[in-house]
Amino acid sequence: MGNLISSDGRFTAAQKAQLQEIVGYMIPAHGDQPGAGDDLIFGEILQALQPQADVIYEVLELYAAADLQALSALRNPALSTLVATTVQCYYRDDRVLEALNVGARAPHPQGYSLEQGDFSRLEPVRSRGKIYRDV
């Protein structure tokens, strides 16, 4: 494994390797788009998991008893935590955002453009007339 950040102290080397395998299977690489097991992305995931380590230990226990395919089919709150954290870290990586063509940037301050639209579409609504009750 490459340059993992230092604040990954709640997991042993073996646990980190297992987690990297799980998330790498969860979201694999796709063409030029890295997978969640990519060292940089996994480093982010690992950092985000530190406060939730107690929950993630349960995932590792589940993995000890099942292969990755079986793990993916389980419905379990601890797994949901891992999925949510993985997804949130993965889908903010610059390379992933560029590959998706959404731009590797925060929304602010540039913002986005949106079509104002044609409000003449409302003519059928106008022509129906009033729909509220008088009192």
Partner: protein, 533 residues
């Protein structure tokens, strides 16, 4: 330690506290507002970072029990299918609101007379109409005049963009011959009152870094503070005190350093909304008021109304707006007014929500079984990315006394103040209305071209609207405050927030909350010479 007395102490700096402060400021009375949260820094809102979607589920979550910030207090909502959502700051829960800004309708004030359920309000639409207008001018509400679902009104700013979502769904509504209209939104679509226009950040629900979304901290409060009102942040009120005449004489609170203070005041105004206000008043027990303050009716904390929400989503083949844009778009009130043939009374509003960013698309897809782990992940994601949109159905909630806010016997906040405990059940009327809203929404999405539809009903985390727990009325045996917000029991105690709602309507409450607060301020000003008579 007692501080220097003030004329008015307002508890809570959210939408209603800000509006009543502004309304009273011209009297030049000494007015102080105590707020348990702090001032927000828009540059720290999630949309200024690439982790904006993650933060919306963490420190900027709508759930106080998830956030657990210093400004939060725990809420026991284990006995409710709907969880309380709020935010504590100068600006209140509006910091996280979408800014949907509909008025009530005339019929919303006459529910008993028209539909034979609940009660009529002691005021009507015509009474509030000037205050609706004043409030909309202050905020810079955007919209389009001519909505046939309302009496005539003219929003001060142009409507939010239709975008692809508004166009596609508008066409769907048109195919069915059903009502739709651009949403009235507390979102500046042009520069207004020193704020810049919306630039479609798409992160409205976790704070607007642009300042285009009209929240009290950047609308009412700057004006009120310039007029002399003082806001004290990080001050958590524990109880309202009374003197031996039974009049409120101030509030006890914990200041930013955690020290207990007593703020003497001639008038106390509660503005903590439908959970916070009854919580403090129920905690304000005394020999004269053993059941909590202003509670001779026994109705303090009762008749809690949420709006049960349905959420219906469609997956489309064509790319739509994704998260770009204000989340507000168009709405429909086709099913708003009662039609007994539907199998329930009262009705609901559909509010179309544009779409999601990539992380939320992936998360909801994976949790919903539409995006797998492994090989098929990216292909399934691509099918959903920027292609999911839909609506929520905001269903009117009827008042029922067994739906309550009480004080939890064990759970406390960091200052030892009892937490609120929520006991709430969905009525048969609500359940039928929710089902109906899901079915009709599915028809709309199909007519608009959706290839697949899914829903969640009710939205379990959707306790955004907190109403009814200190209701307004003329009869002291059946209400907590009178028709201009003054407590029946304590003549210098006022309530101006959603607690006073008699019925909930089928629309977001903040527009009416703020109009009511302005109306109460006006009523107080007209009666200043004999305010306590």
């Amino acid at each position: 330690m007692a501080l220097e007395p003030v004329d008015v102490v307002i508890v809570g700096a959210g939408p209603s506290g800000a509006a009543v402060a502004y309304g009273l400021a011209e009297t030049r009375m000494r007015i102080v507002c105590l707020e348990q949260g702090g001032w927000m820094n828009p540059l720290e809102y999630p949309s200024t970072g690439k982790d904006w979607e993650a933060r919306a589920l963490d420190d900027m979550s709508i759930s106080p029990n998830t956030r657990q910030l210093k400004s939060d207090y725990p809420v026991n909502d284990d006995h409710s299918p709907i969880s309380v959502a709020n935010f504590n700051a100068v600006g209140g829960s509006a910091i996280l609101y979408a800014g949907h800004y509909p008025r009530f309708h005339p019929s919303d004030f006459r529910v008993q007379s028209l539909d034979g359920v609940a009660d009529d309000w002691p005021i009507d639409y015509a009474t509030l109409e000037p205050f609706y207008r004043e409030n909309e001018q202050m905020l810079g509400v955007s919209g389009l005049a001519g909505d046939p679902a309302y009496p005539p009104k003219t929003p001060p700013l142009p409507p939010v963009p239709l975008g692809k979502v508004g166009a596609v769904l508008g066409d769907g509504f048109n195919r069915l011959g059903w009502h739709w209209w651009p949403s009235d939104s507390a979102v500046a679509t042009a520069p207004y009152d020193g704020r810049d226009r919306c630039i479609n950040l798409g992160a409205c629900l976790s704070g607007c870094a642009q300042g285009a979304k009209a929240t009290p901290d950047i609308t009412y409060w700057p004006h009120a503070i310039r007029a002399g009102v003082e806001v004290r942040p990080h001050c958590r009120v524990r109880e309202v005190a009374v003197d031996d005449r039974g009049m409120a004489n101030g509030v006890y609170y914990f200041d930013a350093e955690g020290a207990e203070q007593f703020q003497p005041a001639e008038v106390v105004i509660m503005a903590c909304n439908g959970v916070g206000t009854p919580r403090i008043l129920l905690n304000s027990k005394s020999e004269r008021f053993p059941d909590g303050l202003a509670n001779s009716s026994g109705l303090m904390g009762k008749n809690l109304m949420f709006h049960p929400y349905s959420m219906i989503r469609g997956i489309f083949d064509e790319p739509l707006d994704g998260h770009h844009g204000p989340s507000n778009c168009i709405w429909s009130q086709e099913f708003y007014e009662t039609d007994s043939q539907r199998g329930f009374v009262r009705g609901f509003t559909y509010e179309i929500n544009r779409g999601m960013g990539p992380a939320m698309t992936a998360l909801t897809g994976m949790m919903g079984g539409r995006i797998p782990w492994g090989e098929g992940h990216h292909e399934a994601f691509a099918r959903l990315h920027n292609r999911v949109t839909g609506m929520v159905g905001i269903c009117e909630d009827l008042p029922e006394e067994h739906n309550t806010v009480t004080l939890d016997p064990e759970l406390c906040d960091a200052h030892g103040i009892p937490a609120p405990k929520i006991d709430y059940t969905l009525s048969d009327n609500s359940l039928r209305m929710l089902d109906y809203s899901v079915q009709r929404a599915s028809e709309i999405l199909t007519a608009a071209g959706a290839q697949e539809i899914y829903h969640q009903s009710p939205i379990a985390q959707g306790g955004w609207h907190l109403m009814g727990t200190a209701r307004m009325g003329r009869d002291p045996a059946r209400s907590v405050v009178n028709e201009w917000g003054r407590s029946h029991d304590v003549r210098n105690l006022f309530i101006v927030d959603g607690s006073v709602f008699v019925t909930s309507a089928g629309v977001n409450p903040t527009c009416t909350i703020q109009a009511l607060a302005l109306y109460v301020a006006d009523a107080m000003k007209r009666r200043l010479a004999n305010l306590f008579d």
